[in-house]
Amino acid sequence: MKLLHDTRLMFVRNMQHTLRSPVFVFASMFQPLMYLVLFMPLLNGLGGVPGLPAGKTVDVFIPGLLVLEALFGTAFVGFSLIDDIRAGVIERFLVTPVSRSAILLGRVLRDAVVLIAQCVLITLVAIPFGLNINGFGFLLSLLLYALIGISMASVSYGFALLFKIEDALAPTLNTITLPLSLLSGIILPLALAPIWLQDLSKINPFSYAVDATRALFAGDFMNIGILEGFVVITVLAVLVFLWGLRSLNKMAA
């Protein structure tokens, strides 16, 4: 099938670029690792407050930390697209018969694969800190992280195609990612929040992802939050991908 064939070509091309300078894969892991080492110990003392059972603070914190990585690790991928736009590479692709969905899919799938690798590495680092995980739940979580990554990457590419310059892209992405991460109960559980803040978090799709992955890590498969998380993030990923594709077609038109 043409879409698959073209997506594979684009995926391989983008993956080659990533592997050519693998240091950037590790660079975006720096922030979550700092949280792990320099912030997580603070939570141990808080154990017992709502949403943070005593002795299980690590188990609650790590799934959320990986959501943070999924948000911030992929939010800035649009910069690489601006380089390609400027060099005329995207325009060159657009005048070939290649599927336009594949141009974008090849990128977001690369971003998802890189993100999964980062999540696995961070989880491995967290195990000595006392992390307990359900293996199957963890694998399902990776799928959810990948979908978050695809969503954020699509947003980033969509704006990159719209703005075409870095100066406008950076502040836009920061403005989006910061409230999204604060409103998803990553750093501290939202159970601690006043009602209005809890209500506000309900319109943030990523708060569902945090709830879902916490349940998955704990192996609590009957939790309805898991289904909610997958539905919300899947719908989000599809919508923002289509928006990104629209930006790509608009750039051409």
């Binding site: 091309r13 390609d84 005329g88 590479v89 005048v95 018969p97 038109a253």
Partner: protein, 301 residues
Amino acid sequence: MEAVKGIDLAVKKGDIFGFLGPNGAGKSTTQKMLSTLLSPTSGEAKVLGYDLAKQQVEIRQNVGCVSQAGGADLTSTGVENLVLQAQLYGLDAQTAKKYAADFVERFQMVSFINRQASTYSGGQKRRLDIALGMIHRPQLLLLDEPTSGLDPQSRAYLWDEIRKLKGEGVTIFLTTQYMDEADKLCDSIAIIDNGRIIVTGTPTELKSSLGGDSIAFTFPTVEAARQAATLLAEKIEAERIKTIDNSVYLNIKDGDRMMPDLLRALDAKNLKAESVTLSKPSLDDVFLKYTGRSLREDLIK
């Protein structure tokens, strides 16, 4: 914003067609429409017989396109660029590699093609850009300012390659702001200014529409110049002769063939010219005539 207002043109199969005009005239916009990158808001066009509005897939498959930016992926090697490009046109990996190798040899890129493209010189990168546009062996190649910013040697090399492509039956639509390039390469030309086509024709037709060559004689004295003008008026219509100070200017057809005759006539009356210059009309003069502006002015701006 309207970059192109009304364009009506036909390009003959197998020709090198020059699309000539200053920066911002609408050349690149027209080219982007022909490559299916932009959709025209109105009008219709056929590219290789395919309807531009309805058969974009067929057009993309059969047209090659080299934009001004070039479009080579600078973080990859030249070979990687070429192979991927061929695969994007649906060729399998093995054929893509073979096609890439053919172009590497043909464009003499062996010495640098396995290096990352960011290390290439301007001329090397341009060769890669054009190979990328040609890799699927299209019947029509759109070239947007192929030699802009290149050194004279690289320009001459590319001109040779473009002529060779024509020899292989490829139709070439060449956008340029260089009159000499259009003059040397193109079978026919359209001059575009402010989004409209001003004039079309072969370079020879366009230049001869100016009336002919100009010849300037300079004499030692004003008096000698006057006598010469009177003498020349016996051979040439008076309105084609102009005397300014000690110089006489003629505007005539076939100036190069007339010249020896004219010099002999002057000599016979002992009117000795200090210097004589003959200039053939250039496409610059054509542009000046049709737009009232010099193309060079625009280049300087």
